[in-house]
C-alpha cells in the first residue's frame, strides 16, 4: 500500500463502475438508482470487519485485481504451472478445468446448461444470470432485491449493492420439484470490475430444488476480495438446498452475505464446504423461520495455511414449531484459525434449536474458538449445543497403522471420516474430489 486512497477517491471509483455497469448491462433505471443509493450510503455506513481495515477496503476498491496473474488465459496452458499441476493431480476433467480457468463461462458448459434449462423453463424453472433477470423479470427482481438487507448496514453491503455484477437468479414455480441438483457454472465473471455476484432464490409454494454453487477445485480468480450476496425466499411448504463449494487461492478474502426467509412448513438446508487456503472468510448468515419451518446450516471447513475463518449464523425461530440446526465440522491445519459463533433465538412456542461444533486440530499452531449462543423468549423452547475440539486420538491412529497403513494414510482416513457424516447431501462426483482434496491437504500437497 504505497498511496493513500481517500473515501472520496473510492466513491469516485465506485461511481465510474456504476456507470460502466449500467451501460454494459443496459439495465433499467430503477436498478441503477439502487446502485446510486448504495453509493450514497457507503460513506456513512459502519465498517467492522475483523480482518480488512477500512484503509485496506478502500485499496481493494481502487485496485480490485491482484498482480502477477497471467493477463489473458486463452487455454489451459496459460495457467500458472502449480495450478495446472494441482488440477491434474486431482484428476479434474477438461471441461471443469476450463471452467476453473474462467474459459468455460461462455463456451462449453454454458451451452450444455442452456439446452437442459430450456426444457425445464417450460415447466416453470427460471435460471438466469441476475443481470438478465433484472431485464426479463423486473417485477420479480424488484420485489426480492435487497429485501433482506439494508444498504447502509455496513460498507461491504453498500459497496456490494453499488457494484454487484454476476450471480444467479433462480425461480421455482409453485409445486415444481426439480429432481436433480442444479450445478451452475456462471458465477465467475470474466471481466468483472469487482467480484460481487448477487444471488436471488425464490422457491414458490411446495416447490423443491437443490442448487450447487461453485466448485471443489481451486478457482483462478483475479480479485482479492469476493463479496457475494444471497437472498433466498422459501414460500409455504417449499424445500430447498443450497450447497456452496469453495476453494479459494490463498490471497482471497471472502465475505459471503447470505440471508433467507423460511415460510410456514418450508425447509432450507444450507451447506458450505470450504476447502481452500483463502486468506480469510467472514460470514454471518441470517435465517428467519416461520411456523413449522426448518433450517439447517452445515459448515464443513478445511483450514489450511493462514486461512482465518469466522463463521457465524443467526437463526430467528419466530413461528410456532420452527426449528434450526447449526452444525459445523472443521479440520484445522498449519496456522489456520477457525471461529464459530452460531446464535439461535427462540421467539415462539415449541421451537427447537441445536448448535454443534466439532473441530480436529492437526497442528500446534492451529486455533479453534467456538461461541454458541442460545436465546429463548418463550418457556417451552428446546435449545441445546455441544462442542468438541481435539486432536487425532493416538488409539485410533495406532489401530489403523497396526493394519499396515502408514501414518499419512491413516491420518487421511481419520480426517476424511471426521468430515464424512456432514457430506451426506453432496453428490458423488463432488465427494470424490472433496476426498482427494482432503488427502492432498493432509499430506501437505496443496
Amino acid at each position: 500500500m504505497t498511496e493513500t486512497i481517500t473515501i472520496s477517491d473510492a466513491k469516485a471509483i465506485i461511481k465510474n463502475q456504476i456507470e460502466e455497469l449500467a451501460k454494459r448491462n443496459k439495465e433499467p433505471n430503477w436498478m441503477t438508482r439502487i446502485r446510486y443509493k448504495a453509493l450514497e450510503a457507503f460513506e456513512k455506513a459502519p465498517h467492522n470487519d475483523p480482518i480488512i481495515s477500512e484503509e485496506e477496503l478502500l485499496h481493494f476498491i481502487a485496485k480490485p485485481e491482484i498482480e502477477g496473474l497471467p493477463e489473458n488465459i486463452e487455454s489451459l496452458d496459460d495457467l500458472p504451472p502449480e495450478m495446472k499441476a494441482l488440477l491434474d493431480r486431482l484428476g479434474i476433467s477438461e471441461v471443469e478445468q476450463k471452467y476453473i480457468a474462467g474459459l468455460a463461462v461462455q463456451t462449453d458448459t454454458g451451452v450444455i446448461y442452456n439446452e437442459f434449462l430450456k426444457e425445464w423453463a417450460k415447466k416453470g424453472l427460471i435460471v438466469l444470470p441476475t443481470e438478465e433477470a433484472v431485464i426479463r423479470y423486473p417485477d420479480l427482481v424488484k420485489e426480492h432485491f435487497l429485501r433482506l438487507f439494508h444498504v447502509d448496514e455496513s460498507k461491504l453491503t453498500a459497496y456490494h449493492t453499488a457494484v454487484w455484477n454476476g450471480g444467479i437468479f433462480l425461480y421455482v414455480k409453485e409445486g415444481l420439484k426439480v429432481p436433480f441438483p442444479l450445478h451452475l457454472f456462471f458465477l465467475i465473471q470474466e471481466s468483472a470490475l469487482a467480484q460481487a455476484p448477487h444471488i436471488i432464490i425464490i422457491a414458490e409454494k411446495n416447490s423443491e430444488f437443490h442448487l450447487i454453487e461453485g466448485c471443489t477445485a481451486p478457482i483462478l480468480v483475479k480479485h482479492s476480495l469476493h463479496l457475494d450476496m444471497t437472498e433466498a425466499y422459501f414460500s409455504e411448504g417449499s424445500k430447498g438446498q443450497l450447497t456452496v463449494l469453495q476453494n479459494w487461492p490463498e490471497y482471497v478474502h471472502t465475505r459471503p452475505m447470505t440471508r433467507a426467509k423460511i415460510g410456514n412448513g418450508a425447509r432450507f438446508i444450507n451447506t458450505t464446504v470450504g476447502l481452500g487456503t483463502g486468506k480469510s472468510n467472514v460470514a454471518n448468515p441470517k435465517y428467519w423461520v416461520e411456523e413449522d419451518g426448518y433450517v439447517e446450516l452445515n459448515g464443513i471447513l478445511l483450514g489450511q495455511k493462514d486461512w482465518f475463518v469466522d463463521l457465524g449464523g443467526e437463526m430467528y425461530l419466530q413461528g410456532k414449531g420452527a426449528a434450526g440446526i447449526n452444525a459445523s465440522k472443521a479440520v484445522i491445519m498449519d496456522n489456520s484459525t477457525v471461529i464459530t459463533r452460531g446464535i439461535i433465538k427462540a421467539k415462539a412456542p415449541k421451537t427447537k434449536g441445536h448448535i454443534s461444533c466439532d473441530a480436529l486440530l492437526l497442528s500446534d499452531k492451529a486455533t479453534m474458538e467456538t461461541y454458541p449462543g442460545l436465546v429463548s423468549r418463550v418457556d417451552d423452547a428446546e435449545l441445546s449445543h455441544e462442542a468438541a475440539i481435539g486432536k487425532i486420538r493416538e488409539e485410533e491412529l495406532f489401530y489403523l497403522m497396526s493394519r499396515g497403513l502408514d501414518e499419512e494414510k491413516a491420518t487421511q482416513l481419520i480426517v476424511k471420516g471426521f468430515l464424512e457424516p456432514m457430506l451426506k447431501d453432496i453428490p458423488m462426483e463432488f465427494l470424490v474430489e472433496i476426498r482427494k482434496i482432503i488427502e492432498l491437504a493432509v499430506s501437505g500437497g496443496m
Binding site: E394, M401, R403, L405, D406, K409, G417
Partner: protein, 246 residues
C-alpha cells in the same frame, strides 16, 4: 519366527515388563495367561508397536530381523497382526473402505478383488454386505467388535496373529465362531499368540500342541503344555506362583 529377548517396557516411567523372553516358531500356538495387571496386554501392544510403550531394554526379532523400533505399519507389512482387546471406534470410516485399503496395502490387491473377498469372508463371521457400510466399530456390541477383529485376521492371514482377550465381553455364539476361526487360521499356518483369562476358547484345540505361558508382575514365570490351562482353571494361579516361588 518371533523372538522377544529380555524385554523391558515402561509407560510414563513405570516399568511394566521386567525382562520377558518368548520364542514362537512358525505356525505354533501359544497362550498367555495371568492375573490382571501382569503385563499381558502390554506385551501384545509392544510387539505390535504401540507408541505409548517405551522399550528400555531388550529387543524384538521377527523373521530374523530386528523390529524393536519399527513403526506399527512396518510390522504389519512383515506379517504381525494384533486383534485388539477393545478396538477403538473410527468415526466416519466405513468398514468396507477401511478393509479394502488394508488389503490394497498389505496384499497388493485391486479394489474390486478386495471388495468381493471382504464380502465373502464377512459372511462367515455373520456380517451382511450392508453391515460393511457401517462405520468401523461405531455402535458395535462386544461380540461384533471381536468378530470384526477376526475378519481382519482372516483377510490378512498374518504370519503371527496376536489376540488380546478375544473371549472377553463376547456372547456364547460369537465365542464359538471366534474360537473356530482361530483354529482354522492356525491350521493354515498362522502362528497364534493368544491372551486369555479362560480356558473355554481353547476347548476344541489339541492341548498337546499348545504352549502355555503364565505371566506375573511383568515376567513369564512358567511355561508348559495345554494341561497348564486346565490346572489354572481348576486351582487358580496361586499354586503355580507358589511352586515357582513367584
Amino acid at each position: 519366527m518371533l523372538k522377544v529377548e529380555n524385554l523391558h517396557v515402561s509407560v510414563e516411567d513405570r516399568e511394566i515388563l521386567k525382562g520377558v523372553d518368548l520364542s514362537i516358531g512358525a505356525g505354533e500356538f501359544h497362550v498367555i495367561m495371568g492375573p490382571n495387571g501382569s503385563g499381558k496386554s502390554t506385551l501384545a501392544l509392544t510387539i505390535a508397536g504401540h507408541p505409548k510403550y517405551t522399550i528400555t531394554e531388550g529387543r524384538i526379532l521377527f523373521g530374523g530381523e530386528e523390529i524393536t523400533h519399527l513403526a506399527p505399519d512396518e510390522r504389519a507389512k512383515r506379517g504381525v497382526l494384533l486383534a485388539f482387546q477393545v478396538p477403538p471406534d473410527v468415526e466416519g470410516v466405513k468398514i468396507i473402505d477401511f478393509l479394502q485399503q488394508v488389503l490394497i496395502e498389505l496384499k497388493g490387491m485391486g479394489p474390486v478383488e478386495a471388495y468381493d473377498l471382504i464380502v465373502k469372508k464377512a459372511e462367515d463371521l455373520w456380517f451382511k454386505e450392508e453391515d460393511l457400510h457401517r462405520y468401523v466399530n461405531v455402535g458395535f456390541s462386544g461380540g461384533e467388535r471381536k468378530r470384526l477383529e477376526l475378519l481382519q485376521a482372516i483377510l490378512v492371514e498374518p504370519k503371527l496373529l496376536i489376540l488380546d482377550e478375544p473371549d472377553s465381553g463376547v456372547d456364547v455364539d460369537s465365542l464359538s465362531i471366534i474360537s473356530r476361526k482361530i483354529e482354522e487360521l492356525n491350521k493354515r499356518g498362522t502362528a497364534i499368540l493368544l491372551i486369555t483369562h479362560y480356558g473355554r476358547i481353547l476347548e476344541h484345540l489339541d492341548k498337546d500342541s499348545l504352549r502355555v505361558h503364565v505371566m506375573k508382575d511383568g515376567r513369564i514365570i512358567k511355561t508348559g503344555s495345554g494341561n497348564l490351562v486346565e490346572r489354572i482353571e481348576r486351582e487358580g494361579f496361586s499354586d503355580i506362583f507358589e511352586e515357582v516361588g513367584a
